[in-house]
Amino acid sequence: MKKFIMKYLMLNCKDATFLMSKRDEGKLSMIDRMRLSLHISICHLCRKFEKQITEIGLGTKNVHSDFQLPVDVKSKLKKVLDEMGNSLVENF
């Protein structure tokens, strides 16, 4: 029976991981949603994949560089802003 389910109703891992991104945007048909849930419920590897990808997604959102903007770049920016500001005032 399990073999029958595997063969006819279940997605394989490749399709399941593919469909997860679509599901996250609500772009799966009802039947695919069911097939995906069924797969995830019995496949611990894809369950892990899903959890870890969520983790990575959260981490990615918060990625910031530790690099500092060089001082000379800051002064250049200031200069450009000042010039631009002055020319805007003059045009009033």
């Binding site: 997605l11 959102k61 770049v73 800051k74 805007l88």
Partner: protein
């Protein structure tokens, strides 16, 4: 904390925000010169639009929303220069990850992770994520960045990058597989 009275003060922008903007934009465009260029463009656009600033959003949020648009414009321009995307055969790409029956190849299958419990580890994970993202292939990287850093949806990303939805779903699938596996390797 943001001031309650939101008044634009352009003479203080560089001092207040340029560093934050730099640290935000750099991992998103991956290029020092472009990062600096986008910051300058943001300040100049903001200055031109300053009469339209009503102080409803904080000055910082207002500038960052302009910066975000600049980043997306940058990806849009890049896509226009690149021309039409031709994708390798869709069936073949994931042989690396899955066997012919579509099951995980053993050495590529997800392993157990320890969830980071404190800030330092979380910071470390972000560093790893950023490294892995920098090592994604070109288009995968763009798709991943727009999806997970800029948080656009698939329709928006297809428009920005001039790719078809079917290309998008394949690219994001590959990027996710690649990222997960890379982060796992680097964490050990």
């Amino acid at each position: 904390m943001d001031n309650h009275i939101n008044k634009a003060e352009p003479n203080k922008w560089v001092e207040r925000y340029s560093e934050l903007m730099y640290q935000y934009v750099l991992p998103r465009v991956n290029d020092n010169d472009i990062a600096q260029e986008l910051i300058q463009e943001t300040f100049l656009s903001a200055l031109k639009a300053i009469n339209g600033y009503r102080g409803i959003a904080s000055e910082k949020n207002w500038l960052f929303s302009i910066l975000k648009n600049k980043i997306i414009d940058y990806y849009r321009k890049k896509a226009l220069q690149r021309g039409i995307v031709t994708m390798p055969d869709l069936q073949e790409y994931d042989n690396e990850w899955f066997d012919t029956g579509g099951q995980w190849v053993e050495e590529k299958a997800p392993k157990n992770w320890q969830v980071p419990e404190n800030i330092i580890e979380r910071k470390e994970i972000q560093r790893i994520i950023n490294w892995c993202k920098d090592h994604l292939k070109n288009l995968q990287q763009q798709v991943f960045t727009l999806r997970y850093m800029e948080e656009l949806d698939s329709d928006e990303i297809c428009k920005v990058l001039s790719i078809t939805p079917s290309n998008y779903w394949v690219l994001i699938h590959r990027a996710r597989l690649q990222m997960r596996s890379c982060v796992e390797k680097k964490m050990v």
